[in-house]
Symmetry: C2
Subunit: 146 residues, 2 copies
Amino acid sequence: MLTLRPIGFVESPYQETSQVPRGLGAQHHAEGVLRILPEFEPGLTDIEGFSHLFVIWAFDRSQGVELIGRGPADERPHGVFATRSPRRPNPLALTVVELLRREREVLFVRGLDMLDRTPILDIKPYLSSIAPEKLRRGWLAEVEAR
Amino acid sequence: MLTLRPIGFVESPYQETSQVPRGLGAQHHAEGVLRILPEFEPGLTDIEGFSHLFVIWAFDRSQGVELIGRGPADERPHGVFATRSPRRPNPLALTVVELLRREREVLFVRGLDMLDRTPILDIKPYLSSIAPEKLRRGWLAEVEAR
């Protein structure tokens, strides 16, 4: 067992799940703030050199686990580990955001898909990408091709 | 506070940290296994269609937090959120692996950088990449250019 605490909170334009773009072709251009707790500000040293960040956050308003379920992209059910569903055994979420600028313990970012006041668990630099020609996107590519 | 439990464990050729390639230009081609607990096997449905997976795992053998520290890539110190250091406020790690095949609750993968017996917390499909020309890699690019 592992116990985690927030390192900060998201300030997002989204107050409820229905406002977050979901499903096929959803684009996440929302801008907002990752407000890190002041005690962790030294951990942000040099982060402004990176254009993109991984944000690991908690689905704090999700309830229950659904190992196989349907999402907004496809009427067929899929395993939870083949989706980004919030109803996971561990309610962890991952978003790549673009870092616009930093002011002390506040990161201004683009590409949010979190609700307002979401707890942030970790931030890491996004360092490299898988080349598009090497990527297979499973059931999602099938749905897009239909 | 958020309490997490392993959904499975890594079977890796690495028994200790010194065996894991680290630092500039480290390549991760190690093959191994993500052995998911049988109770979660239904959650893997359709995962074999994806070529790459995000694995969120726990630095279970790391101790303490270092908000600013030195790593293997650079003699200059950096903030922990601008690095992949294990000494983080929440000991979460993220690795992108290539999925080679699945046999029931066992995922055969390439690109491991975890130690043997590492607890796995979550698996998600890797869906898209940031275009290389849009990526800035901060202090790491500076070090590589030296």
